[in-house]
């Protein structure tokens, strides 16, 4: 009896210490994930001439430098343009492809779906090299349209995936009801299917914008002088000068992304897209 008592007594505190260890572990993981992101913020306001942590003084001089350097503004403009146009194109193609893949059963459907998803797992460096080789004879190398196509290749799978997820949730009977009420396929898609896919489209757009804006590897093969995206321009800059300008740009991007994610989360619940 005494041994069983000892057992049960030692059991309770052990469980709580285990829980405590788990909490600590989770906190460390979160810290590890977030630290590199947030370390750029104090650095952006550093008065030092080089990137060193902790900073020795406070200043806005690197933000001023960022705005004064034309190449960053030009690159940010190109990146934003690419991200927006690639996202719109990918959403159109992605949502239509989702309708085909979900609503119609045809031979090779699963294979097609797999092919559409390959850019997600395919090594970007191979994709970049391949696209460069293909675009070169077509005159699409160091060309905006070439870059756009390349960005669509990587953003399309995200748009397709989120479209597929929401379309599975849309009851087929709703489309059939629209048919019997006199709406043809296109009008049914326009007035019933598409509005009901809105959460997926918004989530897809968010992913797509971020993926495109952030794209580095493939873009490196296809961009060139006069056609530089922001990540490439930032990378170039760090090759010659390691001052906190990069941290200042990163901070601005961090703020914009955070605001976007909060807005989307409020609108559709981004978390749902991962479950």
């Amino acid at each position: 009896m005494s041994s069983s008592e000892a057992l049960s007594n030692s059991h309770a505190p052990k469980a709580t210490s285990g829980e405590r260890a788990l909490s600590l572990y989770v906190c460390l993981i979160l810290l590890f994930l977030a630290l590199p992101i947030f370390i750029v913020v104090p650095l952006a306001f550093s008065s030092d001439a080089s990137l060193s942590f902790p900073p020795h003084g406070f200043s806005f001089r690197w933000f001023v430098n960022m705005v004064n350097r034309q190449e960053f503004l030009r690159a940010a403009g190109l990146s934003a343009m690419l991200a927006v146009v690639a996202t719109i194109c990918s959403l159109i193609v992605g949502s239509l492809a989702a309708v085909g893949l979900v609503r119609y059963h045809f031979p090779g459907r699963d294979t097609l779906l797999m092919v559409f998803m390959t850019p997600l797992i395919f090594p970007a460096i191979v994709l970049g090299a391949g696209l460069a080789l293909m675009f070169s004879p077509l005159g699409l190398l160091r060309n905006f349209w070439g870059l756009l196509l390349a960005h669509m290749v990587v953003t399309f799978p995200y748009c397709l995936r989120t479209s597929l997820a929401t379309l599975h949730e849309v009851d087929k009977a709703l489309e059939e009801a629209a048919y019997t009420l006199g709406a043809n396929r296109w009008r049914t898609f326009r007035h019933v299917t598409l509005p009901l896919m809105r959460p997926g489209l918004l989530a897809g757009a968010t992913f797509s914008l971020i993926i495109s804006f952030d794209e580095f590897t493939i873009t490196m093969f296809l961009a060139g002088p006069g056609l530089m995206t922001l990540p490439l321009e930032m990378y170039n800059y760090t090759e010659f000068s390691l001052d906190p300008t990069i941290a200042a740009i990163s901070t601005v991007l961090l703020i914009i992304t955070s605001i976007a994610i909060v807005i989307i989360e409020k609108l559709v619940g981004l978390g749902k897209q991962f479950s």
Binding site: D171, A173, L174, E176, A177, A178, Y179, T180, L181, G182, A183, N184, R187, H191, V192, P195, L196
Partner: protein
């Protein structure tokens, strides 16, 4: 929820959608499975026809073929005399109510009802007038701004109906429209649907697996089994004179004893049962002396402890079980050798006196018994 659908509020004009519907040897395959095996049927203008059968009998597939949501592999479907096989659903001018109503969740009630009119390019003021009239007709006049998610099951049902008929379709198709409602509401909606159908005079095809619903609503019942029509007739026809054991079992209680045909003379068959009784019943087609048969009788045609035995065949038995349902009681009576007949008696004078295990006399007219070949 009180009162009934406002039958006098017309849908903005004269009688609508009284089109004739013809099915001519319609067949449909699902892969290797022949789901509909040659269905032929003519539905009269303004008639309400009910497809009745167990799940998988092809009734819903047939309805969906009339709607244009499925394409027949063989045969022809005509609406108002026009072959529609090659017409997509949006060109058929049918109205359909789906099992779960399929109301558009991103639209208000008014927008849902207006959808079909908008697709037809009806002018804005006309749409508003028709939508208002339709909402009044289903007694949900003040619900235009609500979302379908804010409505009860019965209200959604009514909106689905309003949406389906506001476009004045040629045919109204209903796919198990009451299956999602509870019993009380279901009975109420049966009455409302019937009244609405009468008021607008629309040709209606209704699918259900609920025999009571079919008996209550239909002008004619089409009983289906394994992709075929097994009987077509008025509710009383199908109930009183089922053509097969399947139909008699599917509609109403199964109440049967098996036996052997001893002799057939002058249109009457003499059937002896294991319980030692001999029933003289009307001879059916395709049954000859020596055949094993089932004798089927409706429980309400079996009288418990008859006071007047004129023309009745009286059987002595043991009460094995009673089912009290409020208005009536079903008495399961063993008439010997394990043959059980169910008798229905109204509870006009309170509950039945006999307790299970007690002796009980029952009476029946052998004329009202139906004879079917035994199913082995």
């Amino acid at each position: 929820m009180n009162g009934s659908i406002n039958a006098s509020a017309s849908m903005g004009g004269a009688t609508i959608g009284a089109a004739r519907v013809d099915l001519d040897s319609v067949k449909k395959w699902y892969g290797p499975v022949l789901a509909v095996r040659g269905v032929s049927l003519s539905i009269e203008p303004g008639e309400m026809v009910c497809f009745l059968g167990p799940s998988g009998c092809g009734k819903t597939t047939t309805l969906r073929m009339i709607a244009g949501l499925e394409t027949p592999d063989e045969g022809e479907i005509r609406i108002g005399g026009e072959a529609v096989n090659r017409l997509p659903p949006w060109k058929r001018n049918v109205g359909m109510v789906f099992q779960n109503y399929a109301l558009f969740p991103h639209m208000t009630v008014a927008e849902n009802i207006a959808f079909g009119l908008n697709m037809r390019g009806t002018s804005g003021s006309e749409v508003r007038a028709k939508v208002e009239a339709a909402m009044a007709q289903v007694r949900l006049a003040d619900y235009g701004d609500r979302r379908p998610s804010q409505l009860s099951g019965g209200q959604r049902q009514r909106i689905a109906l309003a949406r389906a008929i506001v476009t004045r379709p040629n045919v109204l198709l209903l796919d198990e429209p009451l299956a999602a409602l509870d019993k009380k509401l279901r009975e109420q909606m049966q009455v409302e649907i019937k009244q609405l159908q009468r008021a607008v005079g629309i040709t209606t095809v209704f699918v259900t697996h609920d025999q009571e619903e079919a008996l209550t609503l239909a002008d004619r019942i089409v009983v289906m089994e394994e992709g075929r029509i097994v009987q077509i007739g008025a509710p009383s026809d199908v109930y009183e004179r089922p053509k097969s054991r399947f139909v008699s079992d599917f509609i109403g209680y199964t109440n049967a004893v098996s036996g052997k045909v001893e002799a057939i003379t002058a249109g009457r068959a003499r059937v002896s049962t294991a319980s030692g009784h001999a029933f003289e019943v009307p001879a059916g087609e395709g049954i000859s002396a020596g055949d094993r048969v089932d004798l089927v009788i409706r429980p309400e045609k079996v009288v418990v402890d008859p006071a007047n035995t004129d023309g009745l065949m009286v059987l002595d038995g043991t009460l094995v079980h009673t089912v009290y349902t409020g208005a009536v009681t079903y008495s399961h009576v063993d008439i010997g050798a394990g043959d059980v007949l169910i008798a229905m008696s109204p509870n006009a004078h309170g509950e039945a006196a006999t307790a299970p295990g007690g002796r009980l006399r029952i009476g029946l007219r052998p004329d009202t018994m139906l004879m079917f070949p035994s199913r082995g």
